[in-house]
Amino acid sequence: MRIVGTSINRVDGVKKVTGALKYVDDIKFHGMLYVAVKRSPYPHARILEVDTKGAEALEGVKAVITGQDVPNRAGLYLEDKTFLATDKVRYKGEAVAAVAAETKEIAEAALAYIRVDYEELPAVTNAVEGLKSEAPLVHPDLGQYKWGPIFFPEPGTNISNHYKIRKGDIEKGFEEADYIVENSFYVPHIQHCPIENHSAIAQMDADGSITLWASCQSPYAVRKALSVAFDLPLNKLRVISPAVGGGFGGKAGTTLEGIVIPLAKKTKGRPVKLTYSREDEFVNSFVRQGMHATIKTGIRKDGKISAVKNTFIWDGGAYTEYGVNIVRAGGYASTGPYDIPNVWTDSICVYTNHPVGGPYRGFGMSEIHFAIEQNIDMLAEKIGMSPIEIRKINGLRPGGKNATGQIVDVCGLQECLEDVAKHIDFNRKESGSQPHKVRGKGIACGYKAPSMPNDVASSAIIKMNEDGSFHLLVSAQDIGQGSDTVLIQMAAEALSIPPQKITIKTGDTDYTPYEWQTVASRITYCAGNAVLKACEDIKEQLLELAQLRLGVSKRDLVLKDEYVVSKIIPGKGVAMKELALGLSMADGSGIHGPIIGRGAFIPPNVRNTDKQTGQGEKPVAFWTYGCQGVEIEVDIETGKIDVLKVASCFDVGKVINPKLVEGQVEGGIVQGLGSALFEELILENGIAKNPSFVDYKIPTADDMPEMIINFVENPEETGPYGARGVGEPCMVPAAPAIANAVYDAIGIRMNSLPITAEKVLKALKEKSSVL
């Protein structure tokens, strides 16, 4: 291969670094109106009355909406939300009314003229408490909502999904164990913090159709959710995602889009824009769900884990339309990448009066692995085994069985483990750089599958131009991960043309073909397969025409360097561009017409698991396995942790673009580092205490460790060129590896994130007072 596997530059790079790329908030229309949103001051309250007359009477105010304007429930997996609150508010910050006005200032000032009367209700501010029978119900009408067949809400409770794994015989497994250990962990809410805030503009045409410009990862999923919410036929709703400045899951579903559309319907053709502030991002877009984990494990003296019982209680927030699937993923992946014969898992999504939990890079895997990977180290210590050895013994291998009973086909976990142990020099103890500093090393494995419905679809269109250049049309969105570039690379390879000859167009539901969503580390795999199929389609057409032109059987023809050439007769061939509009015959007639390839893809043979046991032969499209090791230094006087070095190795099947995939992994490591050391959306009585970068810290350039990034390439049989996704998996082991390194350095288990300096110092003091 000449193009796949090389580090061509990002095709969107120049536009991004020069600032030429236009994001949604850069778009300005004549006559555009600006939106401000009236939000709930309470975590849980009944809305008694909303009086908008005062705001409507203001000069410059063009429309005001309340929940009564958007009564339909919508949601991706469980239709539990309305875009503005109707009967109740369920988190502090929930939209109650919205104003469109001539200027942002007028819109904001108008909010003071909207009167909302509330009756405060007791709130659920802890997921574990929310499970109790006496807990207030966040969604008393849950039983009337619609949901997908793979989810298990329990109406009459706060449980919106209860996913179970029942594998083997759990009691027998514990009986076989020499030791039984139980450990608990907590992962707090965090936020994605993309560099670009959410932004959306809606405009209604004279015929009633709506155009929406939104910074979104998934234009088609957004179109579908909005069509349900607003009773709009899909051909009357166009969603354009011009560019996305970072998503990390936060722009996967719908958030503010549902606010601008009803306003646009009331403003007679004037475009209506809403851009979130950074403070809105923290509370009013998605957050990563909090999670309480308890893991009870049975282990034999020889290191083999015989049984594991997991309870994962997820703090789903006010609406779990998306979150229920995170909980499902956390359930079917609940053993981590280990072969454990007896498994019992309850993964439970609980409604709380917290900000809305939603997709966040890792989709549950970072949360469960923080618990699983520390638990593995604790088990190793219990039986006097090294963290490497216990992972070698229990880690998945081809032929092994995962939590769902699926037989593992391809799995480079053991190779990744070896590579990382070597590069972090795991067994070598280093001394601190100063007397008050100590070093530690930690390792963690991780795995992830694309968490999506079984039959999600992708498509691609590739059009040949008269000069032999191409337009590739997809709705896979480049959200920074580099999909524009790798999809071009794959098409260029398939068609044997230079990548510069392909221009990619994305994100317009009227013009680019269907893509389920840009999520789940699935684009290289799913959209890549669709692109390859579209290229196959083009190739078939070109060979058909070339066979007529050249008089050579098409099975002896091949695409090579922009020509269709004979495999047998040297020099016999035709330039592909000559066939772009079809074939001109000797008598002046023509046949076929323009060359357009179409490709469609659904991951093959992915089937539902058993409802009672969660067991199934192929519950996901593929698994991505990997490992990370870290070296840290702890200041034992202040508790401050510096991450010095990270070694990473993932089995990606096939590296399509080395530079881009390294960048992906670096980003994953650093995002994991942030979640490990700094990040927590602090919620007190349902109220976020740090919704800004003043007191919510993410890593800066100064926090970057040395990173050694390697890959293993065991091809994915169904993947394009053997590739599988790694965008999310590469974040998963980072935080637990750091936690394990903390233990190695100071002998203290940090059971909750983030591992702040203050927590470390407090634990050190407690430890020394015990000794």
Partner: protein, 294 residues
């Protein structure tokens, strides 16, 4: 809605509307400040004021930009008066000044930890102290260096000791109409020691605790931030250390003494206990640095 109905205007007194003035002289600026009284805010670098207006914490009717006034953007030095830093000198300009770097390095170091590089391109030391945050990064070196704040007020240009300048959280001794025109640091024979700032994240963060521990012409000066309603000097500890050789025993005694001079609070950044622990560490490290410097 009916087009014939006369609509009310929203935001006539909008929270973010204000008159902007850019006077050319101190006199003109003072006149404007007196005219608007409590409803005027001075705009210098703007890195605090604009954020406060944006967040709805400040609602000035008039914003008086002092950057158009001549003579406020210079750094001057002479052996008699010492170093004078004009009110409009940015923190990044300070960080590039050779005299500051050579003779008053501790101040340059502290200034370099304020905000981000972009913030320091606009922010000034005068603004940093006039904001009177208990954790202002430049406050502790100024306290330790016995700086003088130059104020243009009722009696023309006068000097106020930095020790009288901070009154309470976000409150200085400045009266309505007063304008800080610069900060003067007296000349000293020798200054040794360091500024330390403990933060949650290494860069672009507010101090959990900050401290300047220096020796000026043989005398130890200790100043701390984020441990009391204003940045403070640890006078009792300094008196205790006077004339003593800095041994480990003396240092440990000094640390205990410092704890008696502070009153930290617990907040979202750190608990009271943690602040006290960090104070101990910073004082110990600061004093040890002085031993090393000898």
């Amino acid at each position: 809605m009916n087009g014939t109905v006369k609509k009310r205007k929203a935001g006539v007194d909008g929270v973010k509307n204000f008159e902007y003035y850019k006077p050319k002289s101190l006199e003109e600026a003072r006149e404007l400040l007196l005219k608007y009284g409590e409803e005027a805010s001075i705009l210098n670098g703007g890195t605090d004021l604009i954020v406060r207006i944006h967040d709805g914490l400040s609602h000035p009717k008039a914003v008086i930009d002092i950057k158009g006034i001549e003579g406020l953007s210079e750094i001057t030095y002479d052996e008699v008066d010492g170093l004078t830093i004009g009110a409009c000198v940015t923190l990044n300009q300070m960080g590039e000044n050779p005299v500051l770097l050579e003779k008053f390095r501790v101040l340059a170091e502290a200034g370099h930890t304020v905000g981000s590089c972009q913030v320091r391109n606009r922010a000034t030391m005068a603004g940093n102290i006039a904001n009177a945050s208990p954790l202002a990064d430049t406050a502790t070196p100024l306290l330790a260096l016995d700086a003088m704040v130059k104020v243009f007020g009722e009696e023309g240009e006068t000097e106020v000791s930095i020790h009288d300048f901070f009154v309470w959280v976000r409150k200085t001794c400045l009266q309505v109409g007063d304008i800080v025109t610069g900060i003067r640091i007296p000349n000293y024979g020798s200054i040794e020691g360091i500024y330390q700032k403990h933060t949650r994240r290494n860069e672009v963060d507010l101090a959990t605790v900050c401290a300047t521990v220096i020796k000026i012409d043989g005398e130890v000066h200790i100043a701390l931030g984020s441990v009391a309603p204003t940045p403070i000097r640890a006078r009792k500890t300094e008196a205790f250390l006077k004339g003593k050789v800095l041994t480990e025993e003396v240092i440990e005694e000094a640390i205990e003494m410092v704890l008696g001079e502070i009153a930290p609070i617990g907040d979202i950044r750190a608990s009271k206990d943690y602040r006290e622990e960090i104070v101990k560490v910073l004082i110990r490290r600061g004093l040890r640095e002085l031993i090393a410097a000898m």
